[in-house]
C-alpha cells in the first residue's frame, strides 16, 4: 500500500470539520494524507462540552435525569434508565415489576429508533438517499409512541428513581404490540434495500478493519466490539433489570469491518423486537408504577456505586459517589462514544480519504455524549 510506493512525496494535511455534514455533529479531525491514503489521523473533540458532570454536582438527584436526556440525544430513555438503576442500586430500592417492564420496553424501542437513524445515515454516508428517508420514517413511528407515553418526542424526563413518572395510556400495550409487528416488517424491508446492495458492499466490506485485540485494547464496547468477534454485551454479561428472563441472541461479526458493524446493528434491531414481544407477554396488566418509600428528594446513604448498561452505542455507565446528601458528591459518566472514538485513529490508518466518512459513520458516535 502506501509504504511500498517507490516515489517519495510530502504528506498533506487536510482538516475535516467541525462543521462538516458527515461528522454527525461538531467533530473535527485532521488527516495527514499521502495521495489518496491516510497516513495519520488526529481527532479533536470538545466543541459541545457543557460540563455535565460538574453541573450534576450542583443539582438534586431527580433534577439530574433531565441532564442525562441531553447526553446521548438519540437514546434518551437508555440514559435515564442507567441513572435510575444506579440510584436504585445505591439506595436498595425494589422497582415494581410493571414499571420495570415498561422501562425495558421503552429502552428496547429506543435502541431500534437509534439504530434506524444509524441505518439511514450509514446509507447517506455511502451516497444513498433512500435509506435515510426510510430510517427516519420508522424512527418517527417509535417517537410517536414515545410522545403518547411521556409527552415528548426526545427529551422525555419520564423515568424516576424507583419507577416512572405516570402510568402509560390504557391502549399502550396494544399500540406497542402493533408497532412491534410493523417494525418487524420494516426491518426486513430496510435490510433488503441496503445490506446486500452491490455498491454498498464494495464501499464497506474490508473497509476500516478493527481487529478484536485492538478493539479490546482501546476499550471499544457495543456493536463495534461485537463486530470484531467478541460477544460482550452488558445485558448478558452482567444481566441488569429483567434481562435474564428473555431469550435473545447476541449477534457477532467476523471481520470487524464497516459492513459487519452495519449488518450487526440490523440484526440487533430484530433481537430487540424479539425482546419487546416477550416482555409484552410477561408484563402484568395492572400494578403500581412507582416504588413505595422513595422520597421526592432522595438522600442515598454514603457510598459509591458503578452501574453499566447496554446502550445502542455500547456500555453506558454511571459512577456515583454519595456523601449522604441530596446532591451527588461526584458523578462520572462512562460515555460509550467517547471511548469508541479513540479507536478511530487506528481504523483510519492506511485507508482511503473517501472511506473516512464511512468509517466514522460506522462508529455511530453522538457528540452530545462524547463531549458531555
Amino acid at each position: 500500500m502506501a509504504q511500498s510506493r517507490p516515489l517519495q512525496s510530502l504528506d498533506m494535511m487536510v482538516n475535516m470539520g467541525p462543521q462538516h455534514p458527515s461528522t454527525h455533529g461538531v467533530f473535527r479531525m485532521v488527516l495527514w494524507v499521502d495521495g489518496e491514503y491516510i497516513v495519520e489521523a488526529e481527532p479533536y473533540i470538545g466543541y459541545l462540552h457543557r460540563g455535565t458532570e460538574k453541573l450534576c454536582e450542583g443539582e438534586l438527584y431527580p433534577q439530574i435525569i433531565t441532564l442525562f436526556d441531553r447526553l446521548d440525544y438519540l437514546a434518551n430513555f437508555n440514559n435515564e434508565w442507567t441513572l435510575c438503576l444506579a440510584m436504585e442500586k445505591l439506595m436498595s430500592v425494589q422497582v415494581p415489576e410493571r414499571a420495570e417492564y415498561i422501562r425495558l420496553i421503552l429502552c428496547e424501542l429506543n435502541r431500534i429508533a437509534s439504530h434506524m437513524l444509524f441505518y439511514g445515515t450509514m446509507g447517506l454516508d455511502a451516497g444513498a438517499m433512500t435509506p435515510v428517508m426510510w430510517g427516519f420514517r420508522e424512527r418517527e413511528r417509535i417517537q410517536r409512541l414515545f410522545e403518547a407515553t411521556s409527552g415528548a418526542r426526545m427529551m422525555h424526563n419520564y423515568f424516576r428513581i424507583g419507577g416512572i413518572k405516570e402510568d402509560v395510556p390504557e391502549d399502550w400495550k396494544a399500540r406497542v404490540s402493533g408497532l412491534a409487528s410493523e417494525l418487524e416488517k420494516s426491518i426486513e424491508e430496510c435490510d433488503k434495500l441496503l445490506t446486500y446492495n452491490e455498491v454498498y458492499l464494495v464501499r464497506s466490506v474490508n473497509v476500516g478493519k478493527l481487529s478484536a485485540k485492538e478493539a479490546l485494547e482501546w476499550g471499544v464496547t457495543g456493536p463495534c466490539l461485537r463486530a470484531s468477534g467478541i460477544p460482550y454485551d452488558v445485558r448478558t454479561s452482567e444481566p441488569y433489570s429483567l434481562y435474564n428472563r428473555f431469550q435473545f441472541d447476541i449477534p457477532v461479526g467476523k471481520n470487524g469491518d464497516t459492513w459487519d458493524r452495519y449488518a450487526l446493528r440490523v440484526e440487533e434491531m430484530r433481537q430487540s423486537v424479539k425482546i419487546i414481544k416477550q416482555a409484552l407477554g410477561q408484563m402484568p396488566d395492572t400494578g403500581p408504577f412507582m416504588a413505595t418509600g422513595v422520597r421526592r428528594i432522595p438522600r442515598p446513604p454514603k457510598g459509591e456505586v458503578y452501574l453499566g448498561t447496554e446502550n445502542p452505542r455500547g456500555e453506558f455507565g454511571v459512577y456515583i459517589v454519595s456523601d449522604g446528601g441530596d446532591k451527588p458528591y461526584r458523578l462520572k459518566i462512562r460515555p460509550p462514544s467517547f471511548v469508541n472514538l479513540q479507536a478511530l485513529k487506528a481504523m483510519l490508518r492506511n485507508s482511503y480519504i473517501a472511506d473516512s466518512v464511512m468509517i466514522l459513520g460506522s462508529l455511530d458516535i453522538v457528540l452530545g455524549e462524547v463531549d458531555r
Partner: protein, 146 residues
C-alpha cells in the same frame, strides 16, 4: 477472585468490599506493576478498562479504575490516592490504552498529572482556559438564588 489477596500480595494492597465490587487500594508507586498483573495473570485477566475517574476529596485526589474481565466475567475497582498539593499518578496507558483520553480529561479538569502519558494535552476545553473546572473548589454557578 478469591485468589486476589494471594496474587496481589507483593503489592501489599488493602482489599475491601463495597456493594458488589471488590475495592483494591494500592500505593501509587506500585500501581503500574499491579495493573500489569491484573491484566496478564490468567486467574484474573482484567482485559477491559471500563472507567477511569478522578474524585476530588479536597485534601487529596483519588483516581478510580473500574475493570472487567471478559473471560472470567468478574469486576473490580482499583483506587489510588494522591495529595492535592502534588497531584500526580503514574499513567496506565501502557497497560490499557483506553486510559488515554480518560487521563487527558483528568489532567484537564482536575489538574492531576499522569506521569508517563504519551501526550497529556487538553482535550475538551478551549485553548488558553485557566483553572481546573472539575475541582470542588471551582465555582461554577455565577448566579445566586434569592
Amino acid at each position: 477472585m478469591r485468589l486476589l489477596p494471594e496474587v496481589l500480595a507483593p503489592f501489599s494492597p488493602q482489599i475491601a468490599a463495597s456493594y458488589d465490587d471488590v475495592v483494591i487500594t494500592v500505593d501509587k508507586s506500585k500501581l503500574v506493576q499491579m495493573a500489569r498483573v491484573l491484566r496478564d495473570d490468567s486467574r484474573l485477566s482484567f482485559d477491559l478498562m471500563r472507567l477511569l475517574t478522578v474524585v476530588d476529596y479536597n485534601d487529596h485526589f483519588q483516581v478510580v479504575y473500574h475493570l472487567w474481565s471478559l473471560g472470567k466475567r468478574h469486576r473490580t475497582v482499583v483506587k489510588v490516592d494522591t495529595p492535592a498539593a502534588e497531584a500526580s499518578v503514574p499513567s496506565v496507558t501502557s497497560v490499557w490504552r483506553t486510559a488515554d483520553w480518560y487521563e487527558r480529561e483528568g489532567k484537564e479538569l482536575f489538574g492531576v498529572n499522569f506521569e508517563g502519558h504519551p501526550k497529556l494535552e487538553p482535550l475538551l476545553l478551549w485553548e488558553g482556559f485557566e483553572g481546573y473546572p472539575g475541582r470542588r473548589s471551582y465555582q461554577l454557578f455565577d448566579y445566586k438564588e434569592f
